[in-house]
C-alpha cells in the first residue's frame, strides 16, 4: 500500500502510528527553530563577552551584527506563519486550568495523576505564547536597534531603555527555550521524532495527549 505524500494531522497509520504534525507544521517549526537559534547565538555573543565566540556562527562578529537583524525578521515572519497554523489550537480550554493545577505531577513524571490534555497541553501553550509575545517585543525593539543612526539625537536616550528590554525579552525566551529543548530531546522520548517526521505511536498520543487521541480515534471510525 502506498502512503500519500502529505498526511493530514490525526491520521492513524496501519503501523500503530499517528500523524501528529503535518509537513507544513513541521517545516514551519524548523524554520522558526533555525532562525531563532541563529539569533540566540549571535545575540548571546553581544550579550556577554564570555559568549562572544558564538558570533562566529555568523562568519565574523561584524557579519553576525549585520545578519542578526535580518534573520530576526525571518524568525518573526516564521512566527506569524506558525500563528496562522496554531493560534486556534493554542487558545486556552477549560481543561488547561486543571492541568496547570496538577503540573507538579507532570514534572515528577507521575503522569497517571494528571488530567488529560488536548493536542497541546497547557505547558506547550504557555511556551507558545511566551515565544509569540516575546517575538513581537524583540521585533519592535530590534528595528530601533538596527538603525540607531536614524534616531533623532534628542531621542537617543530611548535606546538606553530599548536595549535592555530587547535583552530581557530574549533572556525570557532563552529560559523557555532551554526547557523546550530539554523536554523535546531528553524528557519526553518520542517528542523529537514527532516534530521531525510527524509521527508518534498511538501509545504516545494516548499517554501525552489523551483528549486529542480520543478525538482522532473517534473521527477515524
Amino acid at each position: 500500500m502506498s502512503t500519500p505524500t502529505i498526511l493530514r494531522e490525526g491520521t492513524i497509520l496501519p503501523e500503530g502510528q499517528v500523524v501528529r504534525y503535518t509537513f507544513e507544521e513541521r517545516a514551519c517549526h524548523w524554520v522558526n527553530g533555525v532562525t531563532y537559534l541563529f539569533c540566540m547565538l549571535t545575540g548571546l555573543a553581544f550579550y556577554s563577552p564570555y559568549l562572544y565566540w558564538m558570533s562566529y556562527v555568523g562568519g565574523s562578529p561584524a557579519t553576525a551584527r549585520t545578519l542578526h537583524p535580518w534573520v530576526g525578521v525571518f524568525f518573526f515572519v516564521a512566527m506569524l506563519w506558525m500563528h496562522t497554523l496554531w493560534k486556534v489550537q493554542m487558545a486556552s480550554i477549560p481543561e488547561d486550568q486543571q492541568w496547570k493545577d496538577n503540573m507538579k505531577y507532570y514534572i515528577e513524571n507521575r503522569d497517571e495523576l494528571l488530567p488529560p490534555a488536548g493536542r497541546f497541553n497547557a505547558g506547550q501553550k504557555l511556551f507558545y505564547w511566551v515565544m509569540y509575545y516575546a517575538a513581537i517585543i524583540l521585533l519592535l525593539t530590534g528595528v530601533v536597534m538596527w538603525f540607531p543612526e536614524l534616531m533623532p539625537r534628542n531621542l537617543h536616550w530611548l535606546l538606553t531603555i530599548i536595549i535592555p528590554i530587547h535583552a530581557a525579552a530574549a533572556l525570557v525566551t532563552i529560559g523557555a527555550f532551554i526547557i523546550h529543548i530539554y523536554m523535546g530531546i531528553l524528557m519526553v522520548p518520542g517528542g523529537l521524532k514527532g516534530i521531525a517526521y510527524g509521527r508518534v505511536s498511538e501509545e504516545w498520543a494516548a499517554h501525552h495527549h489523551r483528549l486529542w487521541y480520543e478525538k482522532i480515534k473517534k473521527d477515524s471510525r
Binding site: 558570533s55 535592555p164 529560559g175
Partner: protein
Amino acid sequence: MPNEAMQVKAISAHPGPVPGGNVSRDYDVCKLIDTTTCIGCKACEVACLEWNGYEFRETTFDNTYQTMPDTAWNYWNLIRFNEVESEEHGLQWLMRKDQCMHCAEPGCLEACPADGAIVQYKNGIVDFNQENCIGCQYCVTGCPFNIPKFNPETKKVFKCTLCSDRVGAGLEPACIKACPTGCLHFGSKEDMKDLAERRVAQLHKETSYNKAGVYDPEGVGGTHVIYVLHDAENPEKYGGLPKNPRIPLMVSFWKHPLKWLGNVGLVFGIAGVLLHYVRFGPKVIDKKEEKKP
C-alpha cells in the same frame, strides 16, 4: 611623554644616592582647552583633518561662525560657537573646542559589546579599534558627550584619538601643535590641572569673570581633556557641555545587574533541567496500560 625608559638610573660623579632615581612622571596625558583665549580660528579643525587624513568638507552656514552643526565620523574636532548675552558681561562669543573628552570612566567602553573595539590606554587615551568594531553603536548610547559617530558606508564608529599615534611617538596632538593663541596645552594631567587652576585664579583676580572655573567632571571619573570656562557654573551655554555628565543609568543597569541576573538565570536554567533529568529521568510509557481509551 616620559616613561620608565627615561627614569634616571645613574649620574656621573655624584656622591650618595642618585637624586630622582626610579622616579618617573605620571603617565596620564591631558589636553587643556582655555576657552577664554580661544579666538575660534579653527586651525585645530584643519590640523585634525590634515593629520588624520580626511578631506575638508563643505561648511554649513547657520548665522554663526560654526563650521557645521555637529562633529562627524570624519570630522572629530569642532569649534562650537555660541552667542550669549548677560547683564554682567554684555554680548559674549563663547567658543568651545568640542571633541572626545577621554573620560577616565568611559561610557563608550562600558557599553561596547565587541571584544577589543575600544581600548583605554594607561595614559588615559580612549581609542577606537575599527577592525574590531561591529557597528552596533552601543558606544553612542553610552557616551554622555555625543562623541562617537557612525560611518554608514563602512559600518564602523569613529572619534578623536587624542592623536594616540603622535602621543605614542612623544609628540603633542595635532590640534595643540596648530593652535596660534596658546589656548591649547598638553602635558600630564597634574600639570594641566595646575595650569588651569592658575589661569582660573588669574581670571578671578584680574577680570570680572568671578565664576570662572575648571571643567573636569567627576561623574565620569574626570576627563583627559579639561576646560577653563569663564562661567563654570553654566557649562551648557558652551554648546551643550553637560553640567554633570554620567554614564546613562540604564547602560550601567543593563551592563551590571541585568547581565548578572541573566547569567545566573541561564546557569540555573541549564542546571535545573539537568538536575531534573538526574532526579526524575525521561517519561516512560507503559505500552500495555495505554492504547485503548
